[in-house]
């Protein structure tokens, strides 16, 4: 609630006209942002919308290409995290910056000029315990960080900033790593901090959370502000979803109506863990039929990567199973799936999808070298391999001086064509493609889209996992939305552009509302 006396005070932070460019990307395009004293201001947007970039500028990690930052009405130059801390701005990163082998107190004191030389830790232990009590940040100062839960570690990060006298706290996706109970604790802490005059910027892409905690909301899309400092009261999540996801002109690809056949891929109630051993998939089920492209939409990091890996056998499912044309392929060697018609276009095309130092020929025969005509009795027929590679080079328009060129010298679009050529030439029954057009230019994107549609016409099933909604809309026949390792709902897409209503539904599902709940609310 913005009361009248709050608005008469100058903002704690004003950012105006911030521009930040990265090679090939305009991450922040003249962004304005302001923060009042004692408020929680949410910064909402999809992955890659520029939220973290904007806040890294404020935290002194990035230098803006243009724009002015004012703190308490005075223009400041923030060229390092130190400058930002001096100006009273502290950032709690998504990945904690804590030394695991040191105690809480040692972590808080790290990098400070005080104490000068000798450290009597017990004195500081008390100081830090007291500071924790003041803000409801309960954590034992003598504990080593590696012994703490993720929620406690986050409190240490907050303590670090409060101890340095931060007035403004930037929380980058603070709930992403927390359990529901810990999220409640965090929200309570944040409210107690604002009550004591601190100001908080809360970066998130989860609508429900933002609605629960924020006083005001600023929405970014593709580096631009689409809603500036909306009061959180009286704004609907539907509206926020539209602001966040946006309606862009969908680039339509010519496609014939789908003729879906038998189910080729059946994922049944799959659970899996991510690299850190945390749950990534929690009872996920979906299926793909022959002759259709099925999209999986979702914000990055909701289990897409793990899903694709479980399907092709690169990651074990802890529960549930994956069947390819009726045969169980999960928790089996990748070769087992490949021999049964599995094709995989991975997200990381330079290290998983190809071997950068090997030639185009070596890369395209990787799934064929075991059998004639490429090999005979364990010996490779390099003439035959070269002939095969040249054939693919012509058929797939791979622009390369020679098939002996190492693929690391290829552009992203050409490399993706090499990978697609290899996968498609195996005439797979099913293909999973993850972010197949990420980082490609418009022409190359079109080429990749065409190849995926060719697969569909040829009667193969395609699972397209992407963060680009437009891409999903223009290619998919059906669409699943994934959120925190679960499917939130399934949408049938026709030949036309999806209606605003459908887009809104997808936006809500991407931020954690299941489809049945949306429909129930719409009916009510």
């Amino acid at each position: 609630m913005a009361t009248s006396n709050q608005t008469t005070l100058p903002p704690v932070v004003t950012m105006s006209g911030i521009v930040k460019r990265f090679p090939g990307v305009l991450a922040n395009d003249h962004v304005d942002f302001d923060l009042m004293r004692g408020e929680i201001h949410a910064l909402l947007g999809e992955n890659g919308a520029g939220k973290s970039t904007l806040m890294n500028v404020l935290a002194g990690l990035y230098r803006p290409d243009a724009g002015v930052i004012q703190v308490n009405g005075k223009t400041v130059n923030l060229s390092s995290p130190r400058d930002a801390i001096k100006a009273g701005i502290g950032m709690v990163h998504q990945h904690f910056m804590l030394v695991p082998s040191q105690t809480v107190t040692e972590n808080v004191l790290l990098g400070l000029d005080e104490p000068r030389f000798l450290m009597r830790l017990s004195e500081y232990d008390d100081k830090i315990a007291e500071l924790g009590k003041q803000y409801g940040l309960d954590v034992d100062p003598r504990a080593k960080v590696w012994q703490l839960s993720v929620g406690e570690q986050q409190r240490v990060e907050l303590l670090k900033m409060l101890y340095r006298g931060a007035q403004v706290l930037i929380m980058d996706e603070p709930t992403a790593v927390l359990a529901p109970q810990e999220i409640d604790d965090l929200f309570e802490t944040l409210r107690s901090m604002t009550a004591q005059g601190k100001s908080i910027i809360f970066i998130s892409h989860k609508l429900n959370e933002v609605a629960a905690i924020a006083d005001r909301i600023t929405v970014l899309r593709r580096g631009k502000v689409t809603a500036n400092g909306l009061p959180a009261k009286g704004v609907t999540t539907q509206e926020l979803a539209r602001q966040m996801v946006g309606r862009e002109v969908v680039f339509r690809v010519e496609k014939k109506p789908a003729k879906p056949g038998e189910v080729v891929l059946d994922v049944r109630d799959v659970y899996a863990e991510n690299d850190k051993g945390l749950p990534a998939l929690r009872g996920l089920s979906l299926n793909v039929r022959a002759g259709e492209i099925v999209g999986v939409a979702g914000v990055a990091g909701n289990g897409q990567r793990e899903l694709s890996q479980v399907i092709c056998g690169l990651r074990n499912a802890t529960q549930g199973e994956v069947a390819l044309t009726g045969e169980l392929v999960s928790n089996r060697p990748t070769l087992y799936g490949i021999q049964r018609g599995m094709a995989y276009v991975p997200e990381d095309r330079t290290h998983v999808g190809s071997s950068p130092n090997l030639s185009v020929t070596d890369n395209v025969i990787m799934k064929k070298y075991r059998k004639p005509p490429i090999s005979h009795g364990g010996l490779l027929d390099m003439n035959e391999a070269g002939r095969f590679a040249k054939e693919l080079k012509e058929a797939y328009d791979i622009i390369v001086p020679s098939v002996d060129t190492p693929v690391r010298l290829l552009s992203g679009g050409n490399l993706q064509r090499v990978i697609l050529a290899r996968e498609i030439s195996g005439e797979p029954a099913f293909m999973v493609a993850v972010q197949p057009t990420r980082g490609l230019d418009v022409g190359a994107i079109e080429g990749v889209h065409r190849l995926l549609l060719v697969q569909r016409e040829a009667g193969s099933g395609v699972l397209l996992i992407s963060e680009e909604l437009e891409e999903l809309f223009s290619l998919s026949d059906r669409l699943y939305v994934i959120y925190e390792g679960r499917i939130m709902g399934e949408i049938q897409l026709g030949m036309e552009e999806p209606s605003d209503e459908i887009v809104e539904k997808i936006g809500l599902m991407m931020t954690g509302t299941p489809l049945d709940k949306i429909e129930k609310e719409a009916a009510a």
Partner: protein, 322 residues
């Protein structure tokens, strides 16, 4: 065989290992593995001895040794910290470089005669303590006493001071240290230099006190490698390093002295009559080092022992793409 004399000499020999091991602990705690200890020690031993011969001042020899070895350590620092090269390869190269330089510059030094050495002293009251007194506090080189002081100081510095906290942070999680304004690169250069200086001091301790003279690469005879093994054995802790260093020093002396007498406990001394047995004994400390290094190279075991988490990894800073 007088065990008191063996142990007394063992403490002196152990002081060499102590300096080298504590030096390597500083470097590794900052995250830089430096396998060039042997080379840096040779540089130290050679430059200490030749400076002392030239000037007649062993203290000056000591200083030159520390500075020279510190300087050569910065080659490793530049290659691994600034150029992000593999620390193992660069460290091995540094050993060859240090050995080569010291052999070339030390040519003829072995016939250069005797030099004035650093003084030996006894500590008045402490040397009267039965058993321990004569071993630790009687007629020892002043460097041995410096070693005693260094153990608690190094421990205290690492564990109880602000710069020590920063040192540990840089070796454990450099990006966290960097985010709080600690200059990771400068810290690493500095502690590699400290490691080099202490290796130089270790070398000088040999050539000016423990076994005076220059005997080319036999001066150090692989003690630099033992020091590297001791760092793992000591779990990167100066106090444990001291225990290991003195134990190894005593063992070295025992192995040498056991080959002297004709009889041992009333029997014919097999180590006297059969030189192969002696070689076997002499091999033991190095065999131990090899075993410790092999075991210590396993990631899981290193973690269990408490190796600095960022040990061996170059720190590369940079803006993310997006």
């Amino acid at each position: 065989m007088d065990f008191i004399i063996i142990l007394q000499a063992g403490v002196a020999t152990g002081t060499v290992l102590l300096f080298a091991t504590i030096g390597e602990i500083f470097s590794e705690r900052a995250g830089v593995l430096n396998l060039g200890v042997e080379g840096m020690m040779l540089i130290g031993a050679m430059s200490a001895f030749s400076t002392t011969i030239a000037t007649g001042n062993p203290w000056l020899g000591l200083l030159v040794a520390m500075f020279a070895a510190g300087l050569i350590s910065q080659v490793h620092a530049f290659i691994t910290i600034t150029l992000h090269a593999d620390q193992v390869v660069s460290g091995l190269a540094l050993t060859f470089l240090g050995t080569g330089i010291s052999l070339v510059l030390g040519e003829g030094l072995s016939k250069a005669g005797t030099v004035s050495l650093l003084p030996n002293l006894s500590i008045p009251l402490l040397s009267q303590i039965p058993l321990l007194g004569p071993i630790f506090f009687a007629r020892q080189s002043i460097l041995v006493y410096i070693g005693y002081l260094m153990i608690p100081l190094a421990w205290y510095y690492i564990n109880r001071t602000r710069p020590g906290l920063h040192l540990r942070a840089v070796g454990e999680y450099p990006s966290a240290a960097d985010a709080l304004g600690i200059n990771v690169f400068r810290m690493r250069y500095f502690y590699v230099f400290v490691g080099g200086m202490l290796a130089g001091l270790a070398g000088a301790t040999i050539s000016l006190a423990v076994a005076p003279g220059w005997f080319s690469e036999l001066t150090t005879a692989g003690q630099g490698w033992i020091a590297i093994g001791l760092v793992i054995f000591a779990q990167w802790d100066p106090v444990r390093a001291a225990v290991g260093s003195y134990a190894f020093g005593a063992l070295r002396r025992l192995i040498l002295d056991i080959q002297g007498p004709l009889t041992l406990l009333g029997f014919d001394n097999p180590f006297y009559y059969n030189p192969y047995w002696g070689f076997f004994l002499q091999m033991l400390p190095y065999a131990f080092t090899v075993i410790v290094l092999v075991i210590g190279s396993r990631e899981a075991i290193r973690k269990r022992l408490g190796a600095p988490a960022a040990l061996g990894n170059p720190y590369i800073r940079g803006e993310r793409g997006l």
